[in-house]
Symmetry: C2
Amino acid sequence: MIINVHQHFMELALKEAKQAQAEDEVPIGAVVVSHSRVIAKAYNQVERLKDPTAHAEMLAITSATNVLGSKYLTDCAIYVTIEPCMMCATALFWSKIGAVYYAAGDNRYGFTHFDRHIFNDTTHVEKGLLEHDCGQLMKDFFKKKRELDKL
Amino acid sequence: MIINVHQHFMELALKEAKQAQAEDEVPIGAVVVSHSRVIAKAYNQVERLKDPTAHAEMLAITSATNVLGSKYLTDCAIYVTIEPCMMCATALFWSKIGAVYYAAGDNRYGFTHFDRHIFNDTTHVEKGLLEHDCGQLMKDFFKKKRELDKL
């Protein structure tokens, strides 16, 4: 059996997103991988922590730098289920992370909707792993929210 | 004696920046004010925490939301000594903060150098309080760093 390692790591990020969903948080998850080892996992906790900065990526970056004892994540990759916003994209820029894999785009807040390129040229950026599953989780979440708002 | 309250709060932010300088951190400080009361103070701690997300504004936002028990800072103002980067500006956007006062511009990483407007239309944004003092602190810091690098 051929295992796609990138898909495997995105599946772990999706698992984090599902945990966010279970806690009624916007369902976004992230994992940070260093030399094929998961060193940080996180899901969005804005509601629980009542902190607008507690996006999955931010928590994962802080956790990963704690593990490595370094403010840089040069040899790391992050797998995140939704396109990072500019807060998270800029945090990833500051971290000098090696690669950013995100599953589904975010047409409203995603970093690609800003004109100026944000990442370092040495950062590999790739979209599309498990795009449907990760995107659908968000669509279902907001659809349910809208239905509840109507009640 | 007429006291300029905005200047007073920026002086507190500058005091935070000087604390950062004393700890050999990039000298940026921030305070968050709610109804004329300081509810959070912070300075850049990227080196100490080895965390690229530990900018003064981020720490101040998290601290302020903790104090208020709310993920929104709608009735608050932040006073920060240097123009926020896009990470911090977007975090302030997510927080729905009422006002952003920054002292000196950042020609390289400042949010104004991105084409797309980031703040909510209801957020008052103003530059220039104690601009010289806050900017000079940064200039002196990096000048010293460059001189040390030459040794």
